[in-house]
């Protein structure tokens, strides 16, 4: 998925002199799209994901004087986005179990791009996971985050990340094998 985490590496020397506006522009350019996509995977609702990510950028700008580092800024943004998405999701999940059809269908019914069958199966299978497991899987496979980063982002222990990932993988493998 290519999270452009390397963008800043060669630039470390002068980035700390960025003011909040410069940082906003730089970090936005590098990460806005991928953060919205992350939110959309978690929420299955692109509009809400965009709102949440924009809020997060406004917040990041406001605290740039304390972050002063694009890596920290990204970690901050990611945590903010994941937390907000999870909070919405927890409610949706409850509803979902009762009324799968009442939810907005998938990230974008309006988007004409069809999924491949393979992706379709994976996304459908992901929907059956509890919220935490799904979040772990999205951060792991889309966000390409390490265990430690996932733990930090979600505010849980590494052990929990491991066990959520293990359970999710087990369920998904079973489901995906069944539907072949």
């Amino acid at each position: 998925m290519a999270q452009p985490a390397v963008v800043y590496e060669e630039d470390v020397a002068h980035e700390s002199s960025w003011d909040a506006d410069e940082a906003l522009t730089a970090v936005y350019t590098a990460h806005y799209t991928s953060l919205v996509r992350l939110g959309a995977l978690l929420l299955r609702d692109t509009g809400t994901a965009e709102e949440i990510v924009q809020d997060a950028f406004v917040a990041m700008h406001g605290r740039w004087h304390r972050l002063r580092d694009p890596h920290k800024a990204l970690a901050y943004l990611r945590t903010a986005v994941v937390n907000r998405c999870r909070s919405r999701q927890r409610h949706l999940v409850v509803v979902d179990k009762h009324t799968p059809r009442s939810l907005p269908d998938e990230p974008s019914a309006e988007q004409a791009v069809l999924r491949t069958v393979e992706t379709d199966r994976v996304i459908e299978a992901m929907r059956t996971l509890p919220e935490k497991q799904r979040t772990v899987m999205v951060l792991r496979y889309y966000g390409d985050l390490s265990e430690a980063e996932i733990a930090e982002t979600m505010g849980i222990s590494r052990g929990s990340v491991k066990s959520h990932a293990a359970r999710a993988s087990k369920s998904l493998r079973q489901l995906l094998e069944q539907t072949v």
């Binding site: 998925m1 909040a20 506006d21 906003l24 522009t25 936005y28 350019t29 806005y32 799209t33 919205v36 996509r37 995977l41 692109t46 994901a49 965009e50 990510v53 924009q54 809020d55 997060a56 950028f57 406004v58 917040a59 406001g62 605290r63 903010a80 937390n83 907000r84 909070s87 919405r88 409610h91 409850v94 509803v95 009762h98 009324t99 009442s102 907005p104 974008s108 791009v113 999924r115 393979e118 992706t119 199966r121 994976v122 996971l129 509890p130 919220e131 899987m137 999205v138 792991r140 496979y141 889309y142 390409d144 985050l145 390490s146 265990e147 505010g155 849980i156 359970r167 993988s169 998904l172």
Partner: protein, 375 residues
Amino acid sequence: MSLHDSNDPFDDLMRRALAEEADRVEPADALPEIRARVRGRRRPPTRRPWILTAGAAAIGTAAAIGAFTVLDDNAKNAGDDQVAGGPDTTTSVTGAPLSSAPATATEPSAAPTAPAATSPGATLAPPERGKPEQVVKSAVVPVYWLGNRVGTNRAGEVRLYRTWAKVQGRPATEAVQILTTKEPGDPDYYSVWRGARLNSVTRSPGLITVDFKQLPQARLDAAEATVAVQQLVYTVQGALSADTERVQITEQGRTGTKLFGQIDSSSPLARAKSNDVQALIWITSPEEGTSVPTPVKVTGYGSAFEAHLNWRILDVKTGHVVAEGPTRTAEAYKFTPFAFVVDKLPPGYYTVEVFESSARDGRATSTDSKSFMVR
């Protein structure tokens, strides 16, 4: 990156599928809008200790969300502690019990004349702003929070949820302080008043004036803004046991600011009907994040069709329903207590959900939930 150094085809499949799914999302450019929002805020270079606190406590989501909401809207809270008539001034007491406070309304200062509804801009509030509220030795006051109401067709519909807080000093002032500076105990609840800076709460006959040094900066949609304003109205009225008195919200003595970018505050606000803004189900016990002995007694209030509610207990780890059943409120259609007991829960982490099944299609609606541990 120990999680993904394998060549397992499953890992490849997951990566490929999520990347493909993600690529379907092409967000529009939002940088101009973000810049505009950033410019719209005043930003004194003060430090904000409460952010540190909230950030450090960001296990799970509650604290982080709270912090985030605040950050989002207000970069300038350093002065939260120094509020007029703050808690420290209240050790000696004039001792009016809370219940009598509203009856002994202060002397008749001219109530503000009818709202200057015609003048759109900020106008000076009437000079008589009434008297400070009574000081009490201690009082338990209701504090209202926003929470999403699930099971409705409108995503993001918010409702009021009530918690209790023990305060001393000036009950309404203290209650508003909780809204502007504290975290709710339940991660599902939040306050859009967080970060606002209260100046004073004063009373004159029929009117409560809540003056802020700084109103919240959040901009909300009309529906959420309506409930958000009622969050303050309910909290202030509840603290003063004065449900019928209107609430005038001012900023540095001036009326007319559009609250949350939506609500005209040039005239005093009345309490909205509880059915329109209040959540229909509140779980009051167990409290969020507490540990309880088994059997677990669950209590709360609900307003339900024919008094009928449903509940279920989910194992937090597996997400499975481990117990479920019906319960009844004391009276149909009225916001009245319910209680039920769940036995045979082995030690572990659980979430209890209480909800009403929609008469129309059986969906769970109005759900309130609490997570707890069984010892």
